[in-house]
């Protein structure tokens, strides 16, 4: 589903590369943690998957396509196969929960009847049934992140990318979010989650890819956060 072939990425004006000959293969339906300190290259990795950035060397494949050779007008269509969740939720505060989720469908031209069906369905999946009329600032952090996950998942993408989704949440709330991501993963969606949260990574016992100074230093099938060789 996601394949990196000897991918390097250097940003102009920076001495060391953000990613250094990284080769990784993530299969369909996998749940992968991306761990490492700040500046280890996690964000660059995710940016490359979304084609927000292009590699300096090597190839990035997403859903069978080499995306760094994709024409820029095809990029929007490719991004429709990927849902993205961030640490800071990024909800539109002037829109209700329903409207926030529907927005992701509206702007890619889905019909009103599809939206009418998919939005409540997805809100129910993330455990927010009945809260569609609320405004984001009336919700708790955990609920806001659920809205963000609903928005990322409402178009049923093949891949869900989560960049520190529990970074702003307390441990109990974080567990709820992780259960939700796990449930989404069980529908066959590939989930890639960058995380600092050792507790969560240890608990989930999923594949762990650890980056350090742009290199893959560990790729473990049922890993924990810290080193365990």
């Amino acid at each position: 589903m996601i394949r990196f072939e000897k991918v390097s990425k250097a940003y102009p004006g920076q001495a060391s590369a953000a990613l250094d000959t990284v080769s990784v293969d993530i299969d369909k339906g996998e749940f992968v943690f991306l761990v490492g300190t700040s500046g280890s290259g996690k964000s660059t990795f995710l940016r490359l998957v979304l084609r927000e950035a292009r590699p300096t060397a090597g190839r990035v494949y997403v859903a069978g396509k080499e995306i760094n050779r994709l024409a820029s007008w095809k990029v929007p269509r490719m991004r429709r196969q990927i849902g993205t969740v961030f640490q800071d939720f990024r909800l539109l505060n002037n829109k209700t929960v329903d409207e926030n989720v529907a927005f992701a469908l509206q702007v890619i031209g889905r019909s009103r009847s599809e939206i009418k069906q998919l939005v409540p369905e997805t809100l129910e999946l993330v455990g927010l049934e009945g809260k569609g009329d609320r405004m984001p600032d009336e919700l708790s952090g955990g609920e806001q992140q659920r809205v963000a996950i609903a928005r990322a998942f409402v178009n049923r993408p093949q891949i869900l990318i989560a960049d520190e989704p529990t970074g702003n949440l307390d441990p109990t709330t974080s567990v709820g979010i992780m259960k939700l991501l796990d449930r989404i993963n069980r529908t066959g969606t590939t989930v890639v989650m960058a995380s600092h949260d050792a507790g969560i990574v240890d608990q989930m016992r999923k594949r762990v890819i650890e980056l350090d100074s742009g290199r893959v230093v560990r790729d473990q099938a049922q890993g924990v956060y810290g080193f365990q060789h």
Binding site: R79, R90, L92, V107, I108, G109
Partner: protein
């Protein structure tokens, strides 16, 4: 594509940046009006030139039966005319010349003053009252002494009218007005471009969160840029309408009611010329707003 979203965004965008949009519209309005005026004045100069000839022309009046000039004893003879033609033809300052008959002169006068005065039992003048003439086009408007002195003493020549004496001040003021209008318009057009650019920057900043999400979920570039493009078209349309109205007012109050009645010796521009001016600003207006919008949306909304 859900156009409902695009139009609600358009309405929101217009309201959110209302003061900027008004600034853009007013600047466009004034600059387009000036451009339109320039186009009108240019056509006015053309019309005058068509009627009177350009600044390069000299008219030689030939003798007629009842001539005021005592040197003319009778109507110019064919021999005299061919003598004059030879002199004119041989002169190095002359680019071109032609004879005008009494009838042609009469037609011109009728055209200018209206045919009513020349019809019926008691006309103001007839073709017979008109002088024949030679219309000479010079190679260089500064070199005319040679030909005037060569022709003025010939038999059959009643007088010489140097068009430059008549036309220079008129053409001069039309030209000056035209360039003043276009020059001022150039500054305002530049200001309009900058204003449009600023408006887009502000709007893109105000909507950066929406735009970021749209890019992430895979909205097409056109879809993201569409509200901006529509805003550009709406402001341009309002600017063009206002400028078109101002030009129409200028045509009606300035030309039709004032100049055309007070200064009727001159042919004045009318509806066809107005439509040309309107057409040019109707093209220029949208170009002025769409061009910076297209450039800047590429910059600010890049996927």
């Amino acid at each position: 594509m859900q156009l409902r979203y695009v139009f609600s965004e358009l309405g929101q965008g217009l309201r959110r940046n209302l003061s900027m949009h008004i600034a853009v519209i007013l600047t466009l309005f004034v600059s387009l009006t000036l451009v339109g005026l320039g186009v009108l004045l240019n056509q006015q100069a053309d019309r005058a030139a068509q009627h009177w000839g350009s600044q390069l022309q000299i008219t030689v009046w030939l003798c007629k039966d009842t001539d005021d000039n005592p040197a003319c004893t009778s109507e110019v003879s064919d021999a005299q005319k061919s003598e004059i033609a030879t002199v004119v033809e041989d002169n190095p300052e002359v680019a071109d010349f032609h004879f005008e008959t009494k009838e042609e002169a009469f037609e011109k006068v009728k055209d200018l003053l209206g045919p009513e005065k020349f019809e019926g039992p008691n006309p103001a003048a007839t073709a017979a009252d008109m002088p024949q003439s030679v219309w000479i086009t010079l190679k260089n408007p500064e070199e005319y002494q040679g030909i005037t002195s060569a022709v003025v003493g010939l038999d059959g020549v009643s007088g010489i009218r140097d068009m430059r004496d008549v036309l220079k001040p008129i053409y001069g003021s039309i030209n000056a007005l035209q360039w003043a209008a276009l020059g001022t318009a150039a500054f305002l057009v530049f200001a309009a471009l900058l204003l449009v650019g600023n408006t887009i920057r502000l709007a893109a900043f105000a909507r950066r969160k929406e735009i970021g999400i749209m890019r992430l979920v895979g909205a097409s570039t056109l879809y993201i840029a569409l509200p901006f493009l529509l805003e550009a078209i709406v402001t341009a349309a309002i600017g063009v309408l206002l400028a078109g109205g101002a030009l129409a007012a200028f045509m009606y109050f300035g030309i039709e009611q004032r100049a055309a009645t007070g200064l009727s010796f001159m042919p004045w521009i009318g509806m066809p010329e107005y439509l040309v001016a309107l057409g040019s600003i109707a093209v220029l207006g949208p170009v002025l707003t769409l061009l910076p919008t297209l450039v800047l949306t590429r910059k600010y909304l890049k996927v």
